[in-house]
Amino acid sequence: MTRDPASGRFVAIAPARDAVLLLAGDGVAAGSIIAPPGYKLSHFVEESARLLVVGQGEAAIEGWPDWHFEVDVANVCLVRAGPAY
């Protein structure tokens, strides 16, 4: 579990690795952001102004199987940000 600096929400990766869980104050999941098709979520990467999550893909895009996705809580989506090693 970690905090998204942009929204202040606590988030966690779902056990099945297919979604980012949006947690309420009591730690209970109050919503979720589904992983992009073909990706399993691995771990968060915390930056000062944004939160990234690494998605591990079934197929490579531009030669890269793993990508960083920005967690966009306001728009309930994951936005592709750049390759992950």
Partner: protein, 191 residues
């Protein structure tokens, strides 16, 4: 041979040598077309310029590297091999990254430090902002991989040239299947 003819021959040889030296020096002097604009650019230039026939070609290669950030050197040709069961390799992983969720690239080098990951494995900070552990994996069933040498990178935010040169391979199967071919042997911290 008369003394005058010997003097004339020596004069011609000396002039030819001087002209030859001057020509060679001119050929190695970079044209102003691509004066390195940053420390990373200058370092790349010092290390890689020799590969290209002209400053223009070298600059084009530099810009292509920055834009495409291929993990392989420009001269790499896909070399798909089957890595056998029992083979061990290492991988640097990030804080919070479970050892059973490895990335797509491994190395046959021993990883001694984060600096080694940045410089010899040319892992840009954008690709893996933080690194805290090294995992040694063993291949448990044959694994298809593209094998070769780590290519150089430009770490833009850090203005740092990462020369690469280490060994690397890229697993050529869907990410969720990686651990079906691997087992964790050791996890150790690095700085």
């Amino acid at each position: 041979m008369s003394i005058w003819r010997r003097w004339a021959l020596a004069f011609v040889i000396t002039i030819s040598a001087l002209l030859g030296t001057g020509t060679a020096a001119q050929a190695q002097t970079p044209v102003a077309v691509a004066a390195p604009a940053s420390a990373a650019h200058a370092a790349w230039w010092a290390d890689q310029r020799w590969r290209y026939a002209s400053d223009e070609a070298a600059e084009a290669a530099y810009l292509a590297l920055v834009a495409r950030q291929s993990p392989w050197p420009e001269w790499h040709q896909s070399n798909l091999v089957v890595l056998s069961a029992g083979l061990r390799f290492q991988m640097a992983i990030a804080p919070g990254q479970p050892a059973d969720q490895p990335g797509g690239f491994g190395t046959f080098d021993r990883i001694p430090s984060v600096d080694y990951v940045r410089l010899s494995l040319a892992v840009k900070s954008a690709w893996k902002p933080a690194i805290d552990r090294v995992v040694t994996y063993e291949i448990t069933s044959p694994l298809i991989a593209d094998v070769g040498t780590v290519g150089p990178q430009i770490d833009g935010p850090a203005d740092r040239y990462l020369p690469g040169g280490g060994s690397q391979f890229q697993m050529m199967m869907p990410a969720p299947e990686r651990m079906q071919h691997l087992r964790v042997i050791e996890v150790r911290p690095i700085q």
